[in-house]
Each structure stands twice: as structure tokens, then as C-alpha cells.
Symmetry: C2
Subunit: 734 residues, 2 copies
């Protein structure tokens, strides 16, 4: 596959002169086109979502266009005035540029022109930004990333008013501002520019779009194919090849996928307008359109992105980048009517032909439900670097989502969280991932940048619902090594709604150690009256370790069966480094007879965790060593097994009961699981037994090393012979 | 006023024979009447809310009426099976009784009959309930309260099917069950029965309603006028006289007012049907109807009751007791169209003529908005026992509610919280009251009863946003003494929307000590660009004390100006008793130059607290000495002043800025207040100065001992003479 693309790129390079000769140089041609402007003008007043979106933009911009806009000398970090002002300025230029095209009112064009000329006057005098906090400083902004974003929007604004400007004005803006600005982003910062990373995508889009609008072939070339000797290994095509898996998964994770989609789609749209023969949206089996749908699948019921890796939890598909993404994706494939139902929730469209088509088709009731499904989303350019597994199941009153990360590290924003689990019910977090330690754009918190605790806590393995060995994170917390390896998808089956399974392994996170985790979601009242999740987490190592399995839960402690010592009058910290220094120990207990139960209440439902754990249990709270109160004080459990080289946790989660705080009625406190056991475990097979209140039991057998769906298996347990075919087998009453 | 009622009662007693001779003995006559049944039957299918409410009741009951209903021998505490079953049984009898009246289907009547006969068989064999956890044990239930509730609903059910039963069946049910049950509740438990308390109201309603349906004059008499020598000091009339203030405030607070309204209204309705000449709903200037409106005013924007005293926070006016209350209140005074808008939110009505009228008038669009206003709600039978002060103010994007409790103790469910403050914005807690430590009806938490920490934490003064002296609660935590005294309303003015003020004193909570707190809510962009709350809390004592002023806030710590020592690796507890044992010290700081600032973020808005505090500040978290994890780990600040006999805190809260987590934009981080000072303070006057970023200032003068609105005042400050009339004066740039 990749070879095919390389040949394509080669062909494109050879055909370069030919392609450039075909450049469509009508303006506008980046975001809008003369045709789309005509189409919009003809359809104003017809489709409410479009009209409201336009009206909103108009309201925002109309209060400003009579005012003098400040273009200050850059000084402040993120969250500060000059940072805010330059961000605001590109947005208002973009909006006014579009308004000029739609309405033809000169005030808009003149407004953009005035600001552009101010920048053209300021820019040649600028040195690097005075705030030295980024590995790649900009000029207007403290980091190059914002610098790129500015140029993407400003190029569009300039394109919109291009025909309004005199040749002299164009020359001034291009020579003093756009071209040197784009060269600074590309040739003067080629390391960032060639980087396969969201910062690189923004830089490439910025340089490419300013290249188009200034008809600068050097810039266009750099944007499409990278700079210098690295030709073919950088640039937009390489980014499309490398940053997405074949299913359109972006390796940094959904929070960054949201952010990176914007430059991908802006630039792709411009390429499509200007170099239509590249047929960019069909590239790599329509990878960009696939990526949009994959991003939407990676959200909870509230539309919030699953927060693995660095992620701020409230971010959702209601954000502007997803409005752009959904509108463009629908416009390019109008058979995807389910995208319209997301657009309806967004209740806003982009002001372009794509946005108009979305609004129109919503108006004509063409929206179909967007179905979130169970699926395995492979990571890696060839889909070879593990995956994200998602199991979804509904049953009366519960809508459960389970997520396991067995993908690659996720680049610089990745966390050391191999085989970590998350669980939601009805869109609410039950077992949670901390996300990032960051208050984006809030000045009080280090200007809104990542906080120190993001590294010391959020990225560490102990901050996640997975195993940490010997109190040291995966790959000893070494990003460069972690980045070389991914976990491994072992088996995924969501063909039966009632019994779904995902299973994955990791053999690199800890040297000489195999981690193998299997999550089974059971929603079958013939098996269990309540929804049940079985989690079998096997560890096999060449050495003995202290094994910590963490469970961060949201909710109120209700009950546990074990005796514990609560630290009621003084509290201390679980450890000194690798994230452990951030955990207060609230209580410490010991498990007898390998039966651990814990019940908590979350959003008026009850959850029990039953485990075969047989050593220590720590009840912990996040927040130690946090002098600036940056962390949320969330609660967790750590199941600790000491001095083991071969251990298998059999954990079962049961969802039961409801409490209504208005009627004050509690119903169905009838959790049924009383015991979980490992009854067989060798290299080839693992069998677990789950015992219910009524003393019946359920057994699950797994083939550990043969994931062939049709393979035949046979084992002897307790004098019985058990035979099955396929990776797993569920049977009752052993 | 009260004298008038006493004469009325006397007259009623003298006229007793006369009144009883007028008893309307048609059935049904407690909840429904023959006329209301006819009215309902004629109007089925017309008004959706009524039809849906009926359909819902039908669905609930129809799945049961063919089943055998268990009437078990009582055994379990709250949350257990037999407790649940007996609660469920009165509800289904009540529903089936009503369904029989509405539909005439014999299955319903027969269903009720069968259950009643089971109870009639069981009841004579019952001794006191085996669970010994209540001061007043029942027979079916662990506490007498549930026992009373059962009889209220069961009396209605019996009344509904009265005409369906044979004389023999009636005799059996009355002689074996209803009369002995009612006698147990009244004559055999006269202490509870005569109690002026919600338990007493339920008992009285139960006994009165069963008295009506069995035509037992002794029971009716007891219910109306109390038992034995206490005649005239107990019973329903006395409860109406004593438990409500003239404005209809129920002294235990709104959470219990909600609960107590049900027996008041059920019984009043029955009295009105059976003894219409008593004109019960007009009694005491329509006190019951006033009480309904007052209860609704005591809710936040989400409809949740303000949680002072023992209260579970999620309880709201959507609860069934408020559906009953709103429907009956509207039915009795159909000019109160604003009640219909609450009924619309409830989206459910009671199945009676009252419910039908509500549904009908909603259908005909008669609902008017229910306006929540600033008001002072006096406490005490004569309105003489202090008050609850509520200030409400809206300004773009903020809808702020401030609440101060300067009422009486609130009986046994009261907290030691004189002059405590609560603040909400847009229905979200900002500065909060803990409420009760209880998980109602959740078996895991002591069967759902009040937990130990309710007494050791929630009731204590340090758990509230007010002053604690020498680490000891108000009245040394002695309920009997606290109950004798109330705080004192000093001044309340909500006549100007932009500047509202409430001021109150307490002279009893701490011996030899005057506490005087004044809250000013300013929403005037000419004075401050943002909403500002000024809190002047004066203390004058005959002795020196350690003064703690607590602020429990919801939100994330953003910033403080003071140097503090964070307890990052070990934590200890603030004290050993009186609630202090439940506070972890997260950090401790010292204020320099009497300027303390603290900024936190709550629900995407920012709040600053600026204080003239000049000694120690503790950053605390609730949760120490909580071995069963019963407490919520909320955060607070304690401003501590040592060794002072005369101290005035000048605290200012400013509400500013917004953070949008979807667009990641933070706006208007422009808090303006930099300093608060006490610039004049003597017995007669207090003057404070608030300095802004731009170095202008605002001053507030208060008259401390003359609350005459027209009095003239004069003081000299800094060589200037300030003159004003009235209790307070705001002036700029001193």
C-alpha cells in the first residue's frame, strides 16, 4: 500500500511543472470559491442552521469593524494580552474576509486590509518572541504552533479580500508579511516543519496555503513534499501517510486528532480547489474522511473525546474543529447521512458551500442517527501498531463503554499506559483516566500550558487503570524507547452484542515481562441478571516483582469486605517518584482468602469490583506533592501483589441498582457475584470461575497464544475435559 | 393573632358535638370525593399531564394487581426487605384505591381488600419492631415516623374501597387494624403524638384520617386538639400555629418542610371535605397555602432546596410531596398562576380534582412564570425568631443567590450555624453548606439513617461559612440551649435591584459576644464592572478569642497572594473535636499587610475572595477521621484571627471571567478589587473601604445599632464629615 503512495508521490514530483501549470488562480480559492460564494448568496434565508451560523458570525464581527484593532508588539505568554490579541486578530480577519465575500460590503474588506497592513508594517521588525518556554519559539507567539495557526487563517482572510486590494497593497502584504512569515515557519524552522506531528501539520498547512495565495511554488512544494534532502519523507503527503492508521486513527489520540484535523482539512480543501487533479480527498482510500468518522467514534455519549494521552476532558465534538470536519466530510460524501445528526447537535455550520449543504440537508430531514459501535481502531501507518479497543453495550438503563489502549505511545503527548482500561456508563466516567494536568488558556495556571504534574503524575503508569511493576512506569518512563514499541492486538470480537471481548498483550513495557489483558463485556440476563465486565489480567515475567493494579473510580465509597486501617488522623504518601509521590494513602487493607469486594455509588448507580487479589489493597487519593493545587483529588484503589513472577488478576465489575435522590428510593441492590477464581493457568490456557450468590458459577476459558477463531482446544480441569473452538469459551457450573 | 386562634379553637371545642354532627360520611371523602371522581371521569382524555400521570399510575399498579402481595413479619431496618415491602404496600394500596374510584374495575378494589385483610390478620400479633435504633419504635417499621406514613396512605386506600367492602370486612379491618393501629400511634405513644415536629404532624394526620374513615370521634378529637391534659397545646391546630411562621416558614428548614407538607395537606384536605365549616385552608390567614409558596422560594435555580440544617442536597420541588403541595395550593387559590409553571416542570399531577384542575389550566396556557425573589422569611410562630435572608440578583450570565441563616436552631434537625452564608450562581454552589451526612435509604450506609458524622461534622459550627470561637460550636453544641434562642434580623433591603442588603446579629451563640454580619450584593456596573458581594462580619466580645471564619468553596484553586506552606508529603488534622477533627490541613499561610486574595474557578467562572484578614489562613479539606468514607472531600479556607475581643472581617467576593472548555477561550479575567479595609469601627458605626485596580475606591458605612430607615447619621473620618440617613450609605473616593 505505502509503496503505491510513494510511487504516486514520485509521479507527482515528476509532474510538478505540469501540475503547477494547472493552478486555479481565481480568488477566493482556499476556503471559499467563486462558485461557493454564488451558491451561498443564492440560498440565504432558506436554511436556519446556516443562517443562524452566519448571523452569529456577523454579530461577532459587526461590533468590531468600526473599531481600530490593536496589533501589539508581542510580549505575553499564552493567556496574556498580546497572545490573546494576535489569536483574536486572525479569527476576526478570517470572519471579516468571509463576510466580505458573502455580503460584498466593503467595510469588511477594508477592515481586513487595515489589519493586514498593520501586520505587514510590524512583522519585519520582529525578533523571536521574548517568552522562552517553547522548544520552538515564534515571533507573534511564544510557540511556533500558534504562529502556524495564525498564518492558516490569515491566508484565508487574505485570499478572501485579494481582489479588493490594489497590486501595491498585495505586494506589501506578501513581501513584508506572508512570504517571510511562511519562510520563517518552513525554511527557518525546518525541524518543526518536517516533523511528523500536529505542530508539523499546522506548519505545512500554513506554508502551503500562504504559498497558494502568493503563488509561491517554493512554499507549495515545501508544504506538499517537505524541505530539502528530506523530500518524500516530510510534507503533507507524508503526514497523511504517517499520522493516520488505515482506519483514520491519529496516533496522538482523539484530543489531538480533533486539533490536527483542522489543518489537514483546511489545506486539503485548498489543494482540492487549486490542484483538483491531485484528488486529495480520495488519497489513501479517503483517509481524511475516514479520520473524521473515527474521531467521532472516539467520543463518549456526551460527545467528549476519550481522554487517553494528554487530553482535556470536557473537549467534545461540539468544538469548532469538528464542525469544520463534519461539514467538509459530509460535503465530500453526502451518502453519510449520519454525519448530519452530529451536525444537528453542533447546531452550527461553517460558512462555506459545505456548511450550506449540511444545513440544507438537515432542513430536509435527511439526518440519520450516528451509531457509536464497538470497534477496534488500529494504530500505525500500516495498522500494525496495536489498537484502541472499544466495547459498547446497552441494556435497560445502562449504556456501557469500555476502552482499552493497546496502541503505540502516541508521540510526545502519549502516556505510559499500556493496556489501561476506562469505563463509562451513560456518558459518565466510572473507571477513569486522569487526562492531562493542564488548564488550557487559563493565565493563573502557568499561562495555560502543561503543568509540571502532567509529567510527574498524568503521564506515569500508576496514574492509569493498568499494572505498574516495582513502582516504575512502563519503559522506565523513557519516551524515546516507548515510542519504538506498541502493544499488540490479540483478539477482538463484537459480533455478539451480549458477549463482547477484547484482548491485548504487551511484551515491551517491562523487560522480560508479558502482560496480557482480556476484557469481556456480558449483557445477557440468562448469564447474569446485571451487566458484568470480566477483566483477566495475566502477567508472566522472568523475575519477581511487586505488581500494582490501579483502579481510579468516580463515586462514593459504599462498602468493602476487607479489614482495612484508615489513616484518619495523619496521611502519608504512597511513594517518592514515578507518580507515586502524588498519591495519598487513605487506607490500607489486606485481603483474606483471595476475595476482595468493593462497592461504590456513581451517579445513582452501584458498582461492585470483585477480585481474586490476595495481598494488599491501598485506598488512595490523588493530590499529594501538589503545592499549587493543580490536581483533582480523585480516588482510586491499588491492588498490590508482592514478590510474584506469574500472576493473573481475575476482576469482575457488576453494575446494579439505582438510587433516586428525589423519591429517595433505592432499588435492586442485588449484586450477584461473590467470588472470582483463577482455576487453570498455563502458557496456552487460562480459565477463570465466577461464583454467584446462588452458588451457581460461570467459567471462561481463554486460549492465550492461538487467536485463530477456528482452532480446536481441549483442557482437563477437575477431572473434566473441556473442549471448544475459538479463542474463548464460556460455560457454566464446572 | 394567636389569641384569636385560641379563641377559635375554644369555640370549636365547645361546638364539637355540633361539628361532628355535620360530618360528611359519604365515601370517598379523604383524598377523593364523589364529586371529584365524577369530575375526573368526565374529563379523561382531555388534558395530557393528567392523563399521563394516571397512565403512569396505572402502569405501575397493573403489573401488580394479579400478583399475591407479601405482608411479611417486620424484621429489617430501613433499606431492608420488610421495611421496603411495607412502604411499597401502602403506596400500591393507595394507587389501587384511586384506580378503583376512577375506573370502577373491581380488580383494583379487590387487590386493596386482600392486602388490608392480610394486615388485619397480621397486626394483632405484632409486638414492637425488633430493630432498636429509634427513640420511638413502630411495629411494622423501626421508627414510628414510617408507621404514621403507612396509616395516612392506608386510610385513603380504605376510604376509596369503603363502599366495595361488606360490613363484616369493614369491621374486621377497622377493629383488627385501623383503630388499634391509630391508638398505638396516639394514646400509646402520646409523647411523639403531641410533639411539635414533623413526626408529630405525620402521627396526627394518620390518626385523624383513620379517625375520619372509621368515624371514631376520640381519634378525630385527639388529632385536632391533642391528647389528654395537653388539649389546646397539641394536635393539628397547634401544629399549624407553632410550626410555621406567619409567612409559612417551617422551622426545621426547607428539606423537612417538603416532607412535613404532605401530612399537613393530606389531613387539611380531608378536614375540608368532612368538616368544611372549619374552613381549614383559610386558617391563620391561609397559612398552609403560604407555606407552599415559601417552600418553593427556598430553592435554588435547579429547584433544589437550600440545604441548611439536616438536608440531602439533591432533593427538589420535583419530589412527590411538592407535586401534592403545588396541586392542592393551586386548586385552593386558582389566581396563583405562577404555581402552574412549577407544575409544568414537575410534569406530573396528583390523581384528584386538584390535579385535574392544574393539568387543565396548564393545557389552556394559563401558567405564569414563578418568580424567585429576594426576601426575608421570618422564623417563629409570631415571626419573632430571626429569619432566613435571601438576596437574588441577575446580571449578564450571572444569576446569584445569597442566603444567610439568622433564624432559630431548627429543632432537632437544626445545625449550629448562626449567621452562616451560602452562595449560588446559576443554580451551582459557590460557597456551600455541607447539608446532612446521610445516604437516605441506602442500605450500605447504616441502612440509610443519619450517620455518626452528621453529628460530629455536619451540625458543628466549623462545618459552616460563619465564625467559630475557640474551636467550639455555637452554644457549645448544646441543642437544648440553642433551641431557646434565635438570631436577630437587623435590617433587610431588596428594594433596589442593584444594591441589596441583609444584616443580622446574634448575641447568644457565644456568651458575652455580639456577632453582626452584613451582606451587600452589588450588581451595578457604575460601581463595579463585575458582580460584587461585600461581607462585613463584626465581632465584639467581653473576652479574647481565637476567631475562625470558614469559607467552603466548590471549585479549583487558582491563585493566592499569600505565602503558604503546603503539606505535600504528610497531612494532619486541624483539631480533635467539634468538627475540627474532620478537617485535613492542606496548607497553612500567613497574611501580610492585611491583604488576602484567593481566586478559584467554579463551573467555568472565576471568583475572588479579598479579605482584610491579617493573621493565619488554613486551606482545609473535609475527610479526616472518617474511617467509613462517609464524607465528601470538599475544600475550604479558614481565616483565623488569634487573641482578639473585637474584630471585623471585611470580605469581598467578586465574580468575573469565563472559561469555555470547548472553544478553550478564557475571557475577562479582569477582577478589579485589590484591597479591603476597615476604616472606622465603634459601637455605633462601621465603615469599610474597598480599593480597585484603578486606585479608586468605594466605601460603605453602616449604622450598627439603629435600623430606622430614616435616622440621620454623621461621622468624621480622615478629617471629612460623612452624613447620611438610613442604615447604610455607599460613597466613593474617600
Amino acid at each position: 500500500m505505502i509503496l503505491k503512495y510513494k510511487i504516486l508521490i514520485l509521479l507527482l514530483i515528476l509532474l510538478e511543472i505540469n501540475i503547477f501549470s494547472q493552478i486555479n488562480s481565481d480568488h477566493p480559492n482556499l476556503f471559499l470559491t467563486p462558485q461557493s460564494v454564488k451558491y451561498i448568496r443564492e440560498n440565504l434565508g432558506k436554511y436556519p442552521i446556516f443562517d443562524n451560523s452566519l448571523e452569529k458570525m456577523k454579530c461577532e464581527i459587526d461590533t468590531l469593524i468600526t473599531k481600530e484593532i490593536d496589533v501589539p508588539v508581542p510580549k505575553d505568554p499564552a493567556g496574556g494580552y498580546t497572545h490573546y490579541r494576535h489569536k483574536r486578530n486572525y479569527k476576526i480577519m478570517f470572519q471579516a474576509g468571509i463576510m466580505w465575500q458573502i455580503t460584498g460590503k466593503k467595510e469588511y474588506a477594508n477592515f481586513v486590509k487595515k489589519i493586514l497592513l498593520k501586520y505587514a508594517y510590524l512583522y519585519p521588525h520582529l525578533d523571536l518572541h521574548p517568552v522562552k518556554k517553547s522548544y520552538a519559539r515564534g515571533k507573534l507567539f511564544w510557540q511556533l504552533l500558534n504562529e502556524s495557526v495564525w498564518l492558516v487563517y490569515t491566508s484565508i482572510a487574505y485570499d478572501c479580500i485579494y481582489n479588493y486590494l490594489t497590486g501595491e497593497e498585495r505586494t506589501e502584504i506578501e513581501k513584508q508579511l506572508l512570504i517571510p512569515y511562511a519562510k520563517f515557519l518552513s525554511y527557518e524552522n525546518s525541524k518543526v516543519f518536517n516533523r511528523i506531528h500536529n505542530h508539523g501539520v499546522w506548519a505545512v498547512a500554513a506554508v502551503g496555503m500562504s504559498g497558494f495565495v502568493t503563488q509561491n511554488k517554493q512554499l507549495i512544494n515545501a508544504a506538499l513534499y517537505g524541505i530539502m534532502s528530506q523530500k518524500g519523507k516530510a510534507g503533507f503527503f507524508t503526514q497523511m501517510d504517517s499520522l493516520f492508521s488505515p482506519q483514520g486513527y491519529y496516533t496522538e489520540g482523539p484530543y489531538y486528532q480533533r486539533y490536527a484535523m483542522t489543518p489537514f482539512l483546511f489545506f486539503a480543501q485548498a489543494i482540492d480547489h487549486i490542484l483538483p487533479k491531485l484528488n486529495i480527498f480520495a488519497y489513501r482510500d479517503s483517509i481524511l474522511l475516514k479520520a473524521v468518522e473515527t474521531t467521532l467514534q472516539l467520543t463518549n455519549l456526551k460527545g467528549q473525546f476519550f481522554p487517553f494521552n494528554d487530553a482535556v476532558k470536557e473537549m467534545s465534538y461540539l468544538a469548532q474543529p469538528l464542525i469544520l470536519a463534519v461539514d467538509i466530510a459530509y460535503d465530500r460524501n453526502q451518502s453519510k447521512k449520519s454525519l448530519l445528526s452530529i451536525a444537528k447537535l453542533q447546531n452550527k455550520v461553517i460558512i462555506s458551500g459545505a456548511g450550506l449543504n449540511v444545513a440544507k440537508d438537515i432542513y430536509f430531514h435527511e439526518a440519520k442517527p450516528f451509531k457509536k459501535v464497538s470497534l477496534q481502531i488500529n494504530d500505525g501507518a500500516h495498522g500494525q501498531k496495536g489498537a484502541i479497543g472499544i466495547l459498547r453495550a446497552s441494556s435497560n438503563g445502562n449504556n456501557i463503554t469500555l476502552l482499552m489502549k493497546y496502541a503505540s505511545q502516541g508521540l510526545g503527548h502519549g502516556h505510559f499506559d499500556r493496556l489501561a482500561l476506562m469505563m463509562y456508563n451513560n456518558g459518565n466516567e466510572v473507571f477513569l483516566d486522569y487526562g492531562a494536568v493542564r488548564y488550557v488558556n487559563i493565565l493563573y495556571k502557568e499561562g495555560g500550558r502543561y503543568l509540571k504534574e502532567n509529567k510527574t503524575w498524568a503521564k506515569q503508569t500508576i496514574a492509569h487503570n493498568t499494572i505498574t511493576l516495582d513502582s516504575v512506569s512502563d519503559f522506565k518512563g523513557n519516551y524515546k524507547i516507548a515510542n519504538k514499541f506498541s502493544a499488540e492486538a490479540y483478539f477482538f470480537d463484537s459480533s455478539n452484542d451480549n458477549i463482547q471481548l477484547m484482548s491485548a498483550k504487551d511484551t515491551n513495557a517491562y523487560s522480560g515481562t508479558i502482560l496480557h489483558r482480556t476484557i469481556v463485556s456480558i449483557n445477557d440476563s440468562k448469564i447474569f441478571q446485571n451487566p458484568v465486565i470480566i477483566d483477566i489480567y495475566r502477567l508472566k515475567s522472568t523475575k519477581k516483582h511487586t505488581i500494582d493494579l490501579a483502579w481510579y473510580y468516580k463515586g462514593q465509597f459504599m462498602k468493602t469486605n476487607i479489614h482495612y486501617v484508615p489513616y484518619t488522623r495523619s496521611k502519608s504518601v504512597l511513594g517518592t517518584k514515578n507518580g507515586y509521590q502524588h498519591l495519598w494513602v487513605n487506607a490500607k487493607g489486606r485481603v483474606n482468602d483471595s476475595i476482595f469486594h468493593f462497592i461504590f455509588m456513581n451517579q445513582h448507580k452501584f458498582y461492585s469490583l470483585t477480585s481474586n487479589s490476595n495481598d494488599e489493597v491501598y485506598f488512595v487519593q490523588i493530590g499529594a506533592n501538589d503545592p499549587h493545587f493543580n490536581l483533582r483529588n480523585e480516588n482510586g484503589l491499588i491492588l498490590r501483589e508482592r514478590n510474584k513472577d506469574n500472576y493473573t488478576f481475575v476482576n469482575v465489575i457488576e453494575v446494579f441498582g439505582t438510587h433516586n435522590p428525589i423519591s429517595e428510593v433505592t432499588k435492586n441492590l442485588n449484586n450477584s457475584i461473590i467470588k472470582t477464581e483463577l482455576i487453570y493457568n498455563d502458557k496456552a490456557y487460562t480459565v477463570v470461575k465466577i461464583t454467584k450468590q446462588d452458588h451457581t458459577n460461570l467459567n471462561l476459558a481463554l486460549s492465550n497464544n492461538n487467536n485463530d477463531k477456528n482452532a480446536l482446544h481441549k483442557i482437563n480441569i477437575a477431572g473434566k475435559t473441556i473442549r471448544w473452538h475459538g479463542v474463548y469459551y464460556i460455560f457454566t457450573n464446572l
